[in-house]
């Protein structure tokens, strides 16, 4: 990267409504050469700009094996995210990417995979789920636990539907507040642990979601006897630069934007503030 702060102009190809406040954007870089060469890894993120409003970080939500375009899933919570929600197909964003480290994947071949996602935490994990499905036979059992506030608050409903039909995925979903049509589990995501049998010795767990959920998930996984280096989580902090310079995302002497956002619990527990 030459100029750390200058974004690449990028075109919105497609916008899909996921929930009442969340949309998925499919994006490609305007510069054709740049777009052709661009690659990212599971767990990395982008800084997306709406010029005149600002910039905000979002995890890649698509398969890194898919080239030519990528997805981000965005919940409208503030200035930049609302401005993005007001955009249409063909509109131009600024993108700086790829930023941050990535989920360990090659290292866990042969193991069972447990994914625990909460709400808007599923999109960054999708960039991991997709390549695992591409190489499904390289891994053992594949269990996905997903929790949301209500059935309507779940992102990727059609994809969840597909996953639930696959024999090689165990997908369990739960909501805090069910509606009339809801036939699956009710309760926080950690209550799903009772419903699955894990071979703790040969499983690696990945989790992403609100900080409070992550805390309880890690606690339960430790209780089940998961080794600390097999619990992989993302940490979220307020970010500005994404390149380790502005200081906003620092925890101890680590910068979540360059040393993270992916950490094992072994690393997390050594951070002075968490």
């Amino acid at each position: 990267m030459e100029n750390l702060y200058l974004p690449q102009l990028s075109i919105i190809d497609k916008i899909v409504d996921e929930t009442s406040d969340t949309k998925t954007f499919t994006i490609h870089f305007a510069d054709r050469e740049y777009n052709k060469k661009f690659r990212f890894k599971s767990g990395q993120f982008v800084e997306a700009s709406v010029f005149g409003v600002g910039e905000a970080p979002f995890g890649f939500a698509s398969n890194p094996n898919r080239h030519g375009s990528f997805d981000i899933t965005v919940r409208a919570v503030g200035a930049v995210t609302r401005a993005m929600h007001d955009m249409k197909k063909g509109d131009v964003l600024g993108i700086r990417a790829p930023l941050g480290n990535s989920f360990p994947l090659k290292e866990v071949k042969g193991l069972d995979i447990l994914i625990v996602a909460g709400g808007i935490g599923l999109p960054p994990l999708k960039s991991l789920i997709d390549p695992i499905l591409d190489a499904r036979k390289d891994f053992g059992r594949f269990i996905i636990l997903y929790g949301a506030r209500t059935p309507a608050d779940r992102v990727y409903k059609p994809i969840l539907e597909q996953w639930s039909k696959r024999k090689d995925i165990t997908l369990l979903q739960t909501v805090d507040n069910p509606d009339d049509g809801w036939s699956e589990h009710v309760g926080v995501v950690t209550t799903l642990f009772e419903k699955i049998k894990l071979d703790v010795k040969r499983t690696v767990a990945y989790t992403c979601g609100p900080p409070i959920m992550i805390r309880f998930v890690i606690q339960d996984l430790l209780g089940m006897g998961f080794p600390e280096d097999r619990i992989i989580s993302t940490l979220e902090r307020y970010m500005k630069c994404g390149v380790g310079k502005c200081g906003h995302c620092a925890i101890g002497h680590k910068y979540i934007c360059v040393d993270g956002p992916v950490f094992s619990y072994q690393q997390i527990k050594r951070l002075p503030e968490r």
């Binding site: 307020y238 310079k245 002075p272």
Partner: protein, 363 residues
């Protein structure tokens, strides 16, 4: 003339020659303002140049990372925005910098390099030539001798001057300094052993006048190992006004915010500006979660960054150069500047805490 060479030169001749160079190049130096304050400014003539100063209250890091700096401008006419990166920077000479600020630059050099080397910093840094000035007399707030920040330096400058009254002792610190000195076309006399002796005496006299102390070692250990009483952090948090003054004047503080601003309907600018870890909003996430919502956590953060072994190991030095500006600026009745805090920590003493492993086991 190799780097490390030492010369003695007539002071007036040096200044005259620098002034004539200043007609074509920007020379920034200490200027006496109408209100009696001394501040560093581009020198149009050397008339207002003063030597009756110790330091500028406004940290000289502003010449490398200005309080507000444009990253790029954008024009939103048409389908595709047009971005234009900030303009190039012209070469400039920073004259009369004190040693503590030179050490501050060295800290920033380290911070802004590495895997994500910061273009905007380096385009200024590479165009800056440092003529530093060893200190004969400290301010009542100076404590550079506790932080390897002065009163004179072995390296980090391009040229270093020591004021002998009618003459300067010049240390050549880099090729850039060598080139500049060549271009001044001065009658240089190689420094003799008695000149260096003379400097030693001057510097020793300066040493002896330092008033504040900053015995960092114990504070470093206590902070690194989380052995400061939580109640003491709470006390300091209660005293802190969260004004951010200490971080703004610190030569080692680099944090910034990034903002967009529209100039008119179609044109706007993205800029960065100094920010402070002492502001509550610094870590406020869009979700509402804020890991450092309490002032005590922010004070703790500041000193963790300045004094923890984790950072010292990474940077090669503590995050303080002993310039004493935080002593001058602190609104909290001088309770929270770095010299005061290390004293409070030392006197309070380290508490026993369990190890991470013990804490985990207890859960």
């Amino acid at each position: 003339m190799p780097t490390g060479a030492k010369f003695v030169v007539e002071k007036q001749a040096f200044l005259k020659s620098l002034e004539s160079i200043g007609k074509k190049n920007t020379v920034i130096g200490p200027v006496l303002m109408d209100d009696g304050e001394v501040t560093f400014e581009p020198l149009k003539s050397f008339k207002k140049l003063t030597f009756d100063y110790v330091n500028d209250f406004d940290p000289l890091k502003r010449f490398l990372t200005p309080a507000k700096e444009n990253l790029f401008t954008f024009n939103l006419e048409g389908r595709k925005p047009r971005l234009k990166a900030a303009d190039d920077v012209k070469p400039f000479i920073l004259f009369g910098v004190r040693s503590c600020d030179v050490q501050g630059f060295a800290h920033m050099d380290g911070f802004f390099s590495g895997a994500y080397s910061d273009d905007y910093y380096w385009r200024r840094r590479n165009n800056m030539t440092i003529i530093s000035m060893a200190c004969n007399k400290p301010l009542p707030t100076c404590f550079c001798i506790c932080c390897n920040g002065g009163p004179w330096l072995e390296s980090g400058f391009d040229l270093q001057l020591t004021d002998f009254g009618d003459r300067f002792l010049i240390d050549v610190g880099s090729n850039k300094g060598k080139k500049l000195l060549d271009s001044l076309k001065l009658k240089l006399v190689k420094a003799k052993p008695e000149d260096e002796e003379n400097r030693k005496k001057l510097m020793q006299a300066c040493d002896e006048q330092m008033q504040p102390t900053a015995y960092l070692a114990k504070a470093c250990i206590m902070i690194t190992n989380n052995r400061v009483r939580e109640e003491l952090w709470q006390e300091m948090g209660d005293e802190c006004f969260s004004c951010g003054g200490c971080t703004h004047v610190c030569p080692c503080c680099t944090c910034f915010d990034v903002q967009d601003c529209m100039i008119d309907d179609k044109n706007g600018v993205r800029f960065r500006c100094w920010d402070s870890c002492q502001y509550a909003g610094f870590t406020h996430e869009a979700s509402g979660h804020n890991p450092r919502v309490k002032a005590k956590e922010r004070v703790k953060r500041r000193f963790y960054h300045k004094l923890s072994y984790a950072y010292i190991k990474q940077d090669g030095h503590p995050g303080c150069v002993g310039c004493g500006r935080c002593i001058t600026v602190c609104q909290a009745f001088n309770l929270l500047d770095i010299s005061a805090v290390v004293k409070r920590l030392r006197r309070d003493g380290a508490i026993e805490v369990e190890t991470v492993e013990q804490r985990e086991a207890a859960k």
